[in-house]
């Protein structure tokens, strides 16, 4: 009876010990007999990481609140160029596109030149410039007009 109890106690100790050891791995390496060198070449440490896809876009406008203000322009006149700077962080080659909404711009002409990214460009701080200018025809009545430009960056 006493022997049975002792065995049970040992089993309990074993269970707790097994849980404590399960959190990692221990490998032991002997130097070869008579050798003065030891290494873990038979079982190397193996770091591993999975890197997420990620892309960020920073848009810098000449004016606050993401605005590009051409000021007051006479009919028949032009304004600009003004630059919008775009900076992309992407860990994969990407494509940048833009779309204009000129619903509230009447007949005002918005000219834009967006530099295209170098093929396969990726990394941190990849910069582009969207250069804008406008021309106002006489058919446009006096008043304030605005448009919007949306930029989209997509990893290839």
């Amino acid at each position: 009876m006493k022997r049975s109890l002792l065995i049970s106690a040992l089993a309990v100790v074993m269970i707790f010990s097994a849980v404590a050891l399960a959190s990692g791995d221990v490998a032991i390496f002997n130097g070869a007999s008579g050798s003065n060198t030891v290494d873990n070449s038979t079982n190397l440490v193996k770091p591993k990481v999975t890197v997420n896809p990620k892309v960020t876009l920073t848009v810098t406008t000449p004016d606050a609140n993401q605005e590009v203000l051409f000021g007051t322009v006479d009919p028949g006149g032009t304004a600009g160029p003004l630059n919008v700077t775009l900076e992309v962080d992407s860990n994969k080659a990407f494509t940048i596109t833009s779309a204009e909404d000129l619903t509230n711009f009447d007949a005002i002409v918005l000219n834009r030149t967006l530099t295209a990214p170098t093929a396969g460009a990726k990394g941190q701080g990849v910069s582009f410039t969207d250069t804008m200018d406008i021309s106002v025809p006489w058919s446009v009545e006096p008043g304030a007009y605005d448009a919007t430009v949306q930029y989209t960056v997509t990893q290839n």
């Binding site: 022997r3 040992l10 089993a11 100790v13 074993m14 010990s17 959190s23 990692g24 791995d25 221990v26 490998a27 032991i28 390496f29 002997n30 130097g31 007999s33 008579g34 050798s35 003065n36 060198t37 030891v38 290494d39 873990n40 070449s41 079982n43 190397l44 440490v45 193996k46 770091p47 591993k48 990481v49 999975t50 890197v51 997420n52 896809p53 990620k54 962080d89 992407s90 860990n91 994969k92 990726k122 990394g123 941190q124």
Partner: protein, 281 residues
């Protein structure tokens, strides 16, 4: 008439003598039977169920002082009606059994207490079965010399108790050889020496992961680290290891690793390999 009487008397004496002799012999036979029965009853109920067989001995590989070695005790043989479920082996105190492992797939470590390792058998060994008990990762004494293992204790089922197994007139002795020794232990947070940083965004530094390298050397030594694989794409970060000679004895080096994946590396999974080397001066 007298002669006849004499003859009759003689006959009677003879007959009497025969009867007495027969009676005595019968008694003797009875006595012998009693003794035999008593002898069986007196025989110990804890008769040895498992015996040693062949050249019962312990082998140690490697046998250098301070090295981690495999110890094999062979051979055991179970008795005619016995089943063996486990064995307890007590090593000399100079051995380090804290990391002892079972080398036979049918065996598993139940406990390590003091100097005693208890091994269980997933499939018990049945009657008249010969088996060996190999153990791994037992550290040899650091002092050369001859050591002995106490008689292993084998636990049986039908026997209801333990049986001590030892070669008659011989202890389980082994010899540890003098040699310079250097032993390295590497502990990683993941199984199979893995360090898994999970998923990380580019440009972000992960939490540190600890790799602990312990070197036990009989002489001063230097330690270095070598990297292979995609450690650049991972942005693997690591501290400087101490340079110059490290003192003999047990030295611990904590290598806290990080990753900061660069933006120029595509999304995906990257792996690298790290080799640690310690060389005595």
């Amino acid at each position: 008439m007298q002669e006849e009487r004499s003859d009759i008397l003689t006959e009677r004496r003879v007959r009497t003598s025969i009867r007495a002799a027969l009676a005595i012999r019968a008694f003797q036979a009875s006595l012998a039977l009693v003794v035999l029965v008593t002898g069986v009853a007196i025989a110990p109920s804890t008769a040895i169920a498992v015996s040693s067989s062949g050249q019962f001995a312990v082998s140690v590989t490697p046998a250098g002082a301070g090295m981690y070695a495999n110890y094999t005790l062979a051979s055991f043989t179970t008795g005619n009606k016995e089943t063996t479920t486990r064995v307890a082996i007590t090593f000399p105190a100079q051995c380090d059994i804290s990391g002892a492992t079972a080398l036979n797939p049918n065996h598993y470590v139940i406990s390590r207490t003091g100097s005693t390792v208890v091994l269980g058998f997933t499939t018990p060994y049945g009657p008249r079965t010969t088996f060996a008990v190999p153990l791994g990762n037992v550290r040899n004494p650091v002092t050369p010399g001859t050591y002995s293992i106490a008689s292993p204790i084998v636990f049986t089922l039908q026997g209801g108790g333990t049986s001590n197994v030892s070669p008659p007139g011989r202890r389980l002795e082994f010899t540890i050889l003098a040699s310079p020794y250097i032993v390295m232990t590497v502990e990683t947070p993941g199984d199979l020496q893995a360090v898994d940083f999970g998923t990380v965004d580019p440009g972000v530094t992960s939490a540190g992961q600890l790799v602990r390298v312990t070197v036990d050397s009989s002489a001063d030594f230097t330690i270095s680290r070598g990297l292979t694989g995609q450690f650049v794409e991972m942005g693997l970060g690591y501290p400087l290891l101490p340079t110059g000679p490290q003192l003999a004895g047990v030295r611990v080096f904590d290598d806290v690793l990080t990753v900061t994946p660069p933006w120029v590396a595509d999304p995906g999974t990257y792996t690298a390999q790290i080799q640690y080397t310690a060389v005595q001066n």
